[in-house]
C-alpha cells in the first residue's frame, strides 16, 4: 500500500473564533503539550505514511512554527515529508487574494498540482477538529477489501439536534454502504454514523472528482459530490471503535480537554503500542513541585513550577503557579504566570497570560472564562 496524507488546517477555524483569532484550527493548543494537528499527523505517520501535505490558507504562522521542518514527526525527509501548501495566488489574479475559501472542496482545488503529481495510490484526508488515535493502515486495508470508492471513518453516536447541526453524518446499511448523508442539518436528532472527517480514496479518483468539480464550479464536497453520487458510486463507512472527540465549540474544547483526566481516555489516546502521539519538542526541564504544592487530578506538562493548589486542571508547558493560589477546573496554556493568592475556576488562559497577585476569576463549564493570548490581568 502506498498512501499520502492531506490535512486541512483552516477548515474549522470558525468553530472557536477566540482560539483561532491568531492561529489555525490545526495549531490550537490541546492537552498540555499538543496542537490539534498532532493527532492527525501522528495517525498518518504511525500508518507508515511519509508524505503529508498540510493545506493552509490564513493565520498559519503559528502552525509553521509548530511544524518546523517536520523533524519531530519524523517527516523531515528528502523525498516526501511535510509539505506546507499555501494558497497559490498569481500576480494577475487579484480576486483570489481577497477570497477566503470556506469549504474543503475549494481548499482541494487550490492544491490540484500537488495531488496530480503524487504517485501514491491512495490519499488519506483529515481535518483537525477530531481528537483520536486510529490505525489508518487498517482503514486503508478495509477500503481495499470493500472495493469502495471512498471510505469515511465514522463512529456510532447519539446526536442532539443542536450537535447535529454542526456535524456531518451518515445512514448506512448493514454492510456499511452509505445510503444517506447529512451535512449540518437542522432539527434532526438520533443515533447516526458520525463522520470523524477522515476519509480514504484513490489519488486518481480524487483528481477526477476535482477536475469535474472545477469544470462545474461545485462548492461543497459533501452536498455537491457525495450526496449527488450516492447511487452511482460506492461510499462506505469504517466504524472506529476507539475514543474520539470532536471540537466544534468552546464548550466542547473545554470538555474535551477535561476528558483527558479520565484514565480510559488517556489510555485510548496515548497508551496504544506503536502509536504514540508526536509533537514539537521544546526541551523544557521537568516540572518542579515545591513544598507548598497540592496537586490533584490534573494533567501537567514539563517546564512548570507549581507552588499553589491545582485541581482538575490541564496545565501546559512552562506555566508558573505561585504560593497560596488555587486553580480549579482550568486550562492554563503555555507560559501563563499566575501570581500569589490568585483564585481561578473554569478559566481558559491562552499563551503567555500574566495574572497578577490576588485576582479572582471564574467561569462556568458551559461558558468558560477565556483570557486572550498575552493579556495581563
Amino acid at each position: 500500500m502506498s498512501a499520502f496524507g492531506l490535512i486541512f488546517s483552516n477548515i474549522h477555524d470558525n468553530s472557536i473564533p477566540e482560539l483561532t483569532r491568531r492561529r489555525t484550527m490545526a495549531s490550537v493548543p490541546f492537552g498540555c503539550r499538543y496542537r490539534l494537528i498532532d493527532f492527525a499527523l501522528s495517525n498518518m505517520v504511525n500508518a507508515g505514511i511519509s508524505k503529508v501535505g498540510v493545506i493552509v490558507h490564513n493565520n498559519y504562522q503559528s502552525l509553521l512554527d509548530h511544524l518546523g521542518n517536520g523533524k519531530d514527526w519524523d517527516l523531515a525527509r528528502r523525498s516526501g515529508g511535510i509539505k506546507i501548501l499555501p494558497p497559490f495566488i498569481t500576480a494577475y489574479d487579484s480576486q483570489a487574494a481577497s477570497q477566503l475559501y470556506t469549504s474543503k472542496l475549494q481548499a482541494l482545488m487550490g492544491v490540484m498540482s500537488f495531488i496530480e503529481h503524487s504517485e501514491e495510490e491512495y490519499v488519506v484526508l483529515s481535518d483537525c477538529d477530531c481528537i483520536c488515535n486510529i490505525d489508518i493502515s487498517d482503514v486503508i486495508k478495509k477500503h481495499e477489501e470493500s472495493e469502495a470508492d471512498i471510505t469515511f471513518v465514522t463512529k456510532k453516536e447519539y446526536l442532539s439536534d443542536f450537535k447535529a447541526s454542526s456535524r456531518t453524518f451518515f445512514e448506512s446499511d448493514e454492510k456499511g454502504r452509505i445510503r444517506q448523508i447529512y451535512s449540518k442539518p437542522k432539527h434532526i436528532s438520533g443515533e447516526f454514523d458520525v463522520s470523524l472527517n477522515i476519509m480514504v480514496m484513490k489519488t486518481k479518483l480524487l483528481y477526477l472528482l476535482l477536475t469535474d468539480a472545477m469544470a462545474r464550479d461545485l462548492k461543497s464536497f459533501d452536498t455537491d459530490i457525495v450526496a449527488k453520487r450516492l447511487g452511482e458510486m460506492e461510499f462506505y463507512i469504517y466504524e472506529f471503535d476507539g475514543f474520539y472527540a470532536a471540537i466544534g465549540s468552546m464548550e466542547e474544547y473545554f470538555e474535551c480537554n477535561m476528558r483527558l483526566l479520565e484514565k480510559d481516555v488517556r489510555r485510548a489516546l496515548f497508551d496504544i503500542p506503536e502509536r504514540s502521539v508526536y509533537t514539537k519538542i521544546k526541551n523544557s526541564p521537568p516540572t518542579l513541585y515545591s513544598s507548598d504544592a497540592c496537586v490533584k487530578n490534573s494533567l501537567i506538562a514539563d517546564g512548570c513550577e507549581i507552588e499553589g493548589t491545582v485541581e482538575n486542571c490541564i496545565i501546559f508547558r512552562g506555566a508558573k503557579i505561585n504560593r497560596n493560589s488555587v486553580v480549579r477546573n482550568c486550562i492554563i496554556m503555555q507560559g501563563t504566570y499566575i501570581g500569589k493568592n490568585v483564585h481561578l475556576n473554569c478559566v481558559i488562559s491562552d499563551k503567555n497570560v500574566l495574572i497578577k497577585d490576588d485576582r479572582e476569576l471564574s467561569g462556568h463549564p458551559s461558558i468558560p472564562f477565556y483570557i486572550n493570548k498575552g493579556v495581563t490581568i
Binding site: I281, P286, Y289, S290, S291, L299
Partner: protein, 406 residues
C-alpha cells in the same frame, strides 16, 4: 564534508564510572540518566551548542551501545550538521595494530586525524561526566587574550577536598606555575575541572611526545599537563564559579539530583542560552491523581502519580500506584512502583518493577547508605530490600530468587 572550524570539541566518554556500580553495569557513565529527563552527557553537549561549538567528537569505549543510540545523529542538540556536527569516535583497528584507548591523552592522539580534518586553531577537551553549565566561548576568548598554549578551567574547592583533584597554583594573571595531581598536601584550592583548551599545534606536539614516552600513563592530568608545564608553555587557569558537580559516586549522583530542587539552585534551564537539550520520547503529559501527594519533587512527562512522592526526582514514564510512597529517591525512566510499596533513600534504574507492598531502603536519617536497584530488575510483591544494598542481576539471582525457593 569538511569546513575549517576555529575550535572543535573532543568529549571523552569512554570511562566506565565503576563507582556508580549497578548504574553503569550496562551503560557508560555519560549515558546514565540524570535530573528527570537528561543524561549526564547532555550538560556537556548542550554547553558546546550554547557556546557555538558545532563540531564535537565523542570518544567512546566502555559499553557504548546505549550512548551511541542516545547520541544518534545529534539531532536533539542541533548537531546534525552537514559541516561538522557530532561524531562518535570508537577505538579502531589500524594498519599496524589495533588499540583500545589506553588513557585520555592516547584517546585524543589516536584521533588526531579527525581533528586535522577541520584544521582548527584550538581544541577543547571535555569529559562527559560532570553536571555544570558553562560558556566555553568565553573561556576560548580568555585563551586567546592570554595568548595561551593551554587553558585549564578551574574551580575553588574546600581545602579538605583538594587532595581528590588536580590542583593548580597560579599567579595573579592566572598563569599556572605548578600543577599536582591529587596532592597529599595541597597548596592551593584551585581544582582542575578536566576542561582544557589547547592551541592545536602544541597539543599535537605534546601528544606526539607523550606517545613516545614508554613511562607515560597517557593521561592529560598525570602526563601531558606536567610535561607542558616543564616545557615552559604558556598555561593559564580559567576560573569558573557556577554549579559544578562530579557525579562519579552514588552519593554525589544522588546529591546532584537533589540539588535541582533547591530553591536557589545554580542550575538554570530558562533562557535560550541555558537550555539543556536531551533526546526525549513521545510521552504524554504527567497525570497527578486524586489521591496523590507531591512535595519538593521533580516529575517528568509520561509519569502517572497516584501515591505519595516527596523530595524525589522522577524520570519519564514512572508509575506510582495508590498507597505507594517514594521519598528522598531518584527514579529513572519506565519504573513502576506498585500499590503500597515503599521506596526510601534509593536510586532505581530504568525499567524496574517494585512489587506491591515491597519495601526498599530505609529512611534517610537512619539508613546505612543509599540503596541502588539496577536496571530491568523486578522486585517481587512484599520483598524487603535492606538499606544500602546494591541490587544487580547477579545479586538478584543469588540472594532474592534463592530465598524464593527455600
Amino acid at each position: 564534508m569538511f569546513r575549517k572550524k576555529e575550535c572543535i570539541a573532543m568529549l571523552l566518554a569512554g570511562g566506565q564510572g565503576s563507582r556508580l556500580y549497578a548504574l553503569t553495569e550496562k551503560t557508560a557513565k555519560p549515558a546514565v540518566s540524570f535530573g528527570g529527563k537528561y543524561r549526564i552527557i547532555d550538560f556537556t553537549l548542550s554547553n558546546c551548542v550554547n557556546s557555538g561549538i558545532d563540531t564535537v567528537g565523542v570518544l567512546t569505549q566502555y559499553q557504548p551501545l546505549v550512548l551511541n543510540e542516545y547520541i544518534g545523529n545529534g539531532q536533539p542538540w542541533d548537531l546534525d550538521r552537514t559541516y561538522g556536527g557530532v561524531k562518535i569516535l570508537p577505538p579502531y583497528q589500524g594498519k599496524k595494530k589495533a588499540d583500545w584507548y589506553s588513557g585520555t591523552a592516547n584517546a585524543i592522539y589516536q584521533n588526531m586525524n579527525f581533528i586535522d580534518r577541520y584544521n582548527p586553531e584550538f581544541v577543547l577537551i571535555l569529559s562527559g561526566d560532570h553536571i555544570y553549565q558553562m560558556r566555553y566561548d568565553t573561556m576560548l576568548a580568555f585563551h586567546k587574550v592570554m595568548n595561551a598554549d593551554c587553558t585549564i578551567a578551574v574551580i575553588n574547592v574546600p581545602i579538605k577536598e583538594a587532595s581528590r583533584f588536580g590542583i593548580m597554583s597560579a599567579d595573579e594573571n592566572g598563569r599556572i606555575y605548578k600543577f599536582s595531581e591529587k596532592p597529599k598536601k595541597p597548596d592551593s584550592t584551585l581544582a582542575s575541572m578536566g576542561i582544557y583548551i589547547f592551541s592545536k599545534d602544541k597539543l599535537a606536539k605534546y601528544l606526539e611526545e607523550d606517545e613516545k614516552n614508554p613511562n607515560s600513563s597517557k593521561d592529560f592530568g598525570k602526563d601531558v599537563i606536567p610535561a607542558m608545564l616543564a616545557g615552559g608553555e604558556r598555561m593559564f587557569a580559567y576560573p569558573f564559579s557556577g554549579y559544578w558537580k562530579d557525579v562519579g559516586t552514588i552519593e554525589s549522583y544522588w546529591e546532584a539530583n537533589m540539588d535541582l530542587m533547591k530553591e536557589n539552585s545554580l542550575l538554570k534551564f530558562e533562557g535560550k542560552e541555558r537550555r539543556v537539550f536531551s533526546r526525549t520520547n513521545a510521552e504524554p503529559p504527567q497525570y497527578i491523581g486524586k489521591d496523590a501527594q507531591i512535595k519538593d519533587s521533580i516529575i517528568t512527562e509520561g509519569c502517572e502519580i497516584n501515591g505519595t512522592v516527596e523530595n524525589s526526582v522522577l524520570s519519564e514514564g514512572v508509575i506510582v500506584e495508590e498507597g505507594a510512597t517514594v521519598r528522598d529517591s531518584v527514579i529513572m525512566n519506565g519504573v513502576t512502583i506498585k500499590k503500597n510499596a515503599k521506596v526510601e533513600y534509593t536510586i532505581i534504574d530504568s525499567g524496574v518493577v517494585i512489587g506491591s507492598g515491597a519495601s526498599i531502603g530505609a529512611d534517610k536519617e537512619n539508613a546505612k547508605g543509599i540503596t541502588v536497584i539496577g536496571s530491568g530488575i523486578a522486585i517481587d510483591d512484599g520483598k524487603v530490600i535492606a538499606d544500602g544494598e546494591m541490587v544487580n542481576d547477579a545479586y538478584y539471582e543469588e540472594k532474592l530468587k534463592g530465598d524464593m525457593t527455600v
